[in-house]
Point group: C2
Chain length 359, copies 2
């Protein structure tokens, strides 16, 4: 009756990758409503509510792709699902006020398991003053799926898009990078040990900082507040979910600009640094390509240079330049290399060991 | 490491059912933001945008639960996913203007298959003047998952909730009922025939009306427009996704009222009627308990009785009474029987043959 699923002479999804697929699917959209200020292509869409602007963002999280119940407690999964969406709203320089949460669960989950998940969802909503206002619950044939939609508010003047970075703007990042990725590697290593011998207790205590960054990330709403206090409106902003390299390339591409990043300026916590070396990974590679840090990456005008020093935990790591000059990383030994994104891609960039397991 | 999935002495999800689970998960919510006017519990949440109110609703659709690729073309699945969400916004007496669409797909889907899905999504957005403004695409380990969020607008005065029906209000329904359910039964029968002998062509032509009602439902935005033209603001409204009985019980329960429905007033198309008899089902049972009609069920003040006659395809089927008198159906032979909901329940009400197949 229906042969659309036969893959003969069809294009595999991997040929496009996630961003390619999004572009492919949305390239012909034309906006029909006045209330639609900005559609697909940023951390959130923008809809008009007279004086205020509403921003709205949505994410779909899939068991086995975005989280692994072998090492992520359900409470943490719920917390992180909300946190990562609040981060999208923060990246628009807005304050999240409502979320809608939908779940599809197979019958291997009990009510108590779903309660665990929701306890994390509510904990994050509570911490950041967000109302859960809707959603959907349904069954799935297998696995857990979580869809989150978040609504946030700001004024038209304060909204920060990805596409508005200007030449000579300073590139800033909050907090430190690479920790969540190193946390993931530790969890995967301990999972492997556990699966081989369930008697062995996982060695996790020494890694509590990076594990917390992976399992229970916090959206940087404090940075949004601080920017407001210091009267800085970033010229562009994005949250780091896919890795620094991928995100700065998004800003540059959408702004029609190039950039220079300095490897020695990238903020990396000592714990991240030592764990990366333990795994034989260059710490700056973890920071550039490891995802899920949920820090904010933003650009400011040079005139805000003094002002930005007032905000703790913000580091200037480079500057925006013209498009023709390209996007470069200046390495520790002062060489300029081309920046490429190897960030999280739900289709392409599965880690080799993960791909092997599934085949 | 994590034993939350072990079901020993845990409560199975089936013990609660879908509505029970929603209540269980959301009963302790308190609203934190002024912009949140109404949260969980209606067709959509209501958020304030000064003069206008925004309504927002979300749905998660799961392959094997909400749709079956054996008989639903992907284009229709996409169309219906949007249509059913626009119906939720119509049920708030609002106009939908933006949607966000997230999909999780396994690698058995090709780009062409996803294009088919989106062609239906875009066709419905185009038909109803809605902007697609965001979403998420990711992979799933197996199956197709579609999450839709829709934003709509109306004024505070015009919003129609479920909880505001008053005694003696007239109960109205748009269009005719039971068609989508009979369409589903025909498709399931033909699927069975096809699976047993793929050479046999399905006999679908004679059933085009009910098949279209199942595969490509249309949200009744025309009724919202007509209500506006006739200056009628319903006292309550809901869309019929789970069956007439289930929906009127939602209105009565949330309004703290009872009701009387007249079996002989329930609008049923001739095609639905004859197909129901062919399957040995009482046509009014199909109308009362069959879901997915996406017609609007609403209550109006008695003073609007004359006015409502101006709208084609609206039928008065009963009235609201006090809670203590309960919810009754007056049958063809003039007996009063208690109304009970046997509508679609994603956890409990799988058809027996479906459940067998999965076990």
């Amino acid at each position: 009756m229906d042969n659309i699923l036969e893959n003969k002479e069809k294009t595999p999804l991997t040929a496009l990758g996630e961003f390619g697929l999004i572009n492919h699917l949305t390239k012909d959209i034309t906006i029909k409503n006045k209330s639609t200020i900005l559609g697909v292509g940023d951390d959130a869409a923008i809809v008009d509510g007279k004086q205020q602007c509403m921003v709205v963002s949505t994410d779909l999280l899939v068991e086995g792709i975005h989280f692994d119940l072998h090492y992520s407690p359900l409470k943490h999964i719920g917390y992180k699902a909300i946190a990562s969406n609040l981060s999208d709203i923060a990246a628009m320089n807005a304050k999240a006020e409502q979320v809608l949460v939908s779940i599809a669960v197979s019958n291997r989950f009990s009510v108590e398991a779903i309660d665990e998940l929701y306890s994390g969802i509510y904990a994050c909503c509570e911490k950041y003053g967000v109302d859960l206002v809707g959603g959907d619950t349904t069954s799935s044939v297998s696995g857990l799926f979580i869809s989150i939609t978040v609504l946030g508010y700001t004024t038209k003047r304060k909204i920060t898009r990805r596409s508005t970075a200007k030449e000579n703007d300073l590139i800033c990042v909050s907090g430190d990078l690479g920790a969540a990725y190193m946390g993931l590697l530790v969890l995967e290593r301990e999972k492997k040990v556990f699966l081989e011998n369930p008697e062995i207790q996982p060695e996790l205590d020494a890694h509590s900082y990076i594990l917390e960054r992976q399992l229970k990330p916090e959206p940087r709403l404090d940075i949004v507040d601080e920017l407001k206090r210091c009267e800085i409106v970033p010229t562009s902003m994005i949250d780091i979910s896919d890795g620094l390299a991928s995100e700065i390339l998004h800003i540059c591409e959408q702004s029609g600009k190039g950039c220079v990043l300095y490897e020695n300026k990238i903020p990396i916590d000592t714990k991240t640094y030592t764990t990366a070396l333990e795994f034989g990974i260059l710490p700056s590679i973890a920071a550039l390509n490891g995802g899920e840090d949920y820090e904010l990456l933003f650009t400011i005008k040079q005139k805000d240079y003094e002002n930005i020093q007032e905000i703790a935990n913000v580091t200037i790591i480079g500057y925006i330049r013209d498009k023709a000059s390209g996007c470069s990383l200046i390495t520790y030994d002062n060489k300029a290399i081309s920046l490429t994104a190897q960030g999280w891609d739900a289709y392409l960039k599965e880690k080799p060991e993960k791909r092997e397991k599934r085949e």
